[in-house]
């Protein structure tokens, strides 16, 4: 990446960021308020339903929501990234993947601020992750980002051709939300549904992260490592799909 690419990426992120929070009263605070509200609603509903079966349920739910939101935001921002920049893309030939990466980086920034809030929750519950736990968590976030970016490269192109993908994606992400142990513990699921949840890569990444961060337990790294490597391969494939399709996509805008 040369200097101009870096500058461009920075400007894209900065612009998106400014625009998103420019005209709202609470502005930037929404980045943290939204997941917190979501957390509050779900905490009330599900702590009644689940009782006290999950230790540190507040932390369990909060980390789950934050990681899911992160993945959701990476993919949704990625989906919109090309269509949003079409005016620029029809006039200037910059490296198109920067538009996608820039859009996904916003999600990284938002996650960062969300984690600052999470620290308060951890402190309140007197849960103190050690260095290894944090390293595991970071590894999980990177895995999640790679997976999200891979999806983003794929669906950003598809969205140019099929404009109702946005709605489909929204529903799909809702399905993913319930197929991932975010509000419920994985031990709750019995029978055939188990396979479905097990096949979801987010399940493994989230579990791995939460066990380390909240319960100080180091699960076997294997499944997450496999997901990490598969995500990398997936990213490689979708990136090449992206680069191959992008030149022809300009006419479809």
């Amino acid at each position: 990446m040369n200097q101009n690419d870096k500058d461009l990426l920075f400007e894209f992120v900065k612009t998106d960021f400014t625009l998103r929070y420019n005209n709202s009263v609470l502005g930037f605070l929404w980045v943290v308020i939204k997941p917190l509200l979501m957390f509050t609603v779900m905490y009330i509903v599900f702590s009644i339903l689940l009782g006290n079966s999950v230790k540190y349920y507040a932390l369990y739910l909060l980390i789950g929501i934050m990681m899911y939101n992160f993945f959701n935001e990476v993919t949704v921002n990625g989906l919109n990234s090309l269509v949003q920049k079409k005016d620029v893309m029809l006039k200037v030939n910059f490296k198109r993947h920067l538009a996608v990466i820039g859009a996904t980086l916003i999600a990284v920034i938002n996650l960062f601020f969300n984690l600052l809030v999470a620290i308060v929750f951890f402190a309140y519950n007197r849960v103190l992750p050690n260095f290894q736990d944090l390293a595991v968590f970071l590894f999980c976030i990177i895995a999640l980002y790679i997976l999200g970016l891979a999806v983003a490269f794929l669906i950003s192109i598809l969205y140019v051709k099929f404009r109702d993908l946005q709605h489909i994606w929204e529903i799909l992400m809702l399905v993913v939300f319930y197929l991932t142990p975010i509000v419920y513990p994985i031990s709750l699921i019995k029978g055939k549904a188990q396979y479905l949840i097990d096949a979801n890569p987010l399940t493994h990444i989230l579990n791995f992260a939460r066990e380390a961060l909240i319960y100080n337990k180091f699960l076997s790294v294997e499944s997450t490592l496999v997901i990490f490597v598969l995500s990398l391969i997936f990213l490689y494939i979708t990136y090449h799909f992206f680069e191959r399709s992008i030149k022809k996509i300009a006419e479809e805008f």
Binding site: Q3, D164, L165, A250
Partner: protein, 394 residues
């Protein structure tokens, strides 16, 4: 070729324009086997040319002739179906001013965004943004959101940023189509600057005056093909002829057997045909007619329009002292202006022939090919020069 910076070889581009576009997945599900019907439109075929280092190449042609598509292919935005484009050095595309401008951002923020999109290093923008603001004449509004800028201010700002971009090859598409005359003069000055610095430029425009003034070589494109290539004067003339012919065809005035006004010729002081005039020049507008029957006391009118739609002036032979009398067969009338006195710009005219009652037009020619008025002075604002004298009290 060794010293060519752009090599375009056998470019072909076809657009498939779907008659009903399936942009929704839903439609693929509802009518999975229904093939979308396409209209195939050949935008470009077999285009080849080289551009040498330091050359100022003009591309002209009517709307929809494929000029902009060609420019977009050179800029790497569209992929050609066939053929290759090779470019050397850094390419700066000015396909539009203010690419990426966002109305919600402040001027400064837009300078960085637009500047970086054009490939200007950020470090340089940090150094030059003050002079950009100054050049655009928007001092004091640095922190104002762009939506509160007038369109004139926006264009000036966009232009001020654009000229900061340093590259080897510039692609200019109709940049001159926006802004008032003072702004156009500013653009022209920048072009002169570019030319002096020996930069390579591809310039797509309808402003024939500018094409003739700046370009070393001109390519005329029509219906996706190169119709003529060569020195500006010849190519622009060919374009003019083509336009007149096309206008005539569109109106159903077939050149030979139709009746009425045939064409308009613009003659300079040497009475030779021209389309570019100095604002102090003599201009003769010749209306060529062909009639079967004799027309008694015909009335000719001419309406001059600037290319932004402003009706500039009109004249009619009804008010003229010299009577035209009866006309028949083939012939012409001349309207001579001693000094044009219209400020620099692109103009066109509409000519109408009436019979003596001045009610029903016999024939008309609308919006003839544009002609250019240029000026060596850069102090002109407005439409025409007012006659008058300055006098000091002392």
């Amino acid at each position: 070729m060794e010293d060519s910076v752009i090599e375009v070889k056998n470019i072909e581009k076809e657009f498939k324009i779907p008659q009903e576009r399936k942009t929704q997945l839903k439609e693929h599900f509802i009518h999975p086997f229904k093939k979308t019907k396409y209209i195939e439109f050949k935008a470009l075929s077999d285009i080849s040319f080289d551009v040498k280092k330091g050359e100022f190449l003009g591309i002209i042609g009517r709307n929809g002739s494929g000029k902009s598509t060609l420019l977009k292919i050179i800029a790497g935005i569209y992929l050609p179906d066939k053929g290759t484009v090779k470019t050397k050095g850094k390419l700066i595309p000015y396909l539009e001013l203010g690419v990426g401008f966002n109305m919600e951002l402040t001027a400064i923020e837009n300078i960085y965004l637009n500047g970086v999109i054009l490939g200007i290093p950020k470090e340089e923008l940090k150094r030059t943004y003050k002079s950009i603001i100054e050049f655009a004449g928007v001092e004091g509004f640095e922190e104002t959101q762009l939506k509160n800028y007038s369109s004139g201010m926006q264009v000036r700002l966009a232009f001020a940023i654009a000229i900061q971009a340093k590259g080897d090859v510039y692609l200019l598409d109709e940049v001159l189509a926006v802004g008032d005359n003072a702004f156009q003069q500013k653009c022209f000055n920048t072009f002169r600057e570019f030319k002096k610095e020996g930069k390579t430029i591809i310039f797509v425009s309808h402003a024939m005056g500018a094409i003739e003034e700046f370009c070393d070589r001109v390519i005329l494109i029509d219906k996706g093909k190169i119709q003529k290539e060569g020195n500006p004067f010849d190519v622009v003339k060919k374009y003019g002829d083509m336009s007149i012919l096309n206008d005539a065809k569109r109106k159903g005035i077939e050149s030979n057997d139709s009746i009425g006004l045939q064409s308009v010729k613009l003659l300079d002081s040497k009475m030779s045909e021209n389309i570019s005039f100095n604002f102090e020049d003599k201009l003769t507008i010749r209306l060529i007619y062909k009639l079967n029957d004799e027309v008694q006391d015909p009335i000719f009118t001419i309406v001059l329009t600037r290319n932004d739609g402003v009706v500039v002036a009109s004249t009619t032979s009804k008010d003229s002292k010299s009577k035209i009398g009866a006309i028949s067969g083939e012939g012409y009338v001349d309207f001579t202006i001693d000094k044009i006195k219209l400020f620099a710009g692109v103009y066109s005219l509409t000519a109408v022939l009436y019979n003596r009652d001045f009610e029903n037009p016999i024939s008309s020619l609308d919006n003839t090919p544009p002609f250019n008025i240029f000026s060596t002075r850069d102090t002109q604002v407005g439409i025409f020069e007012i006659d008058g004298e300055w006098k000091s009290q002392a």
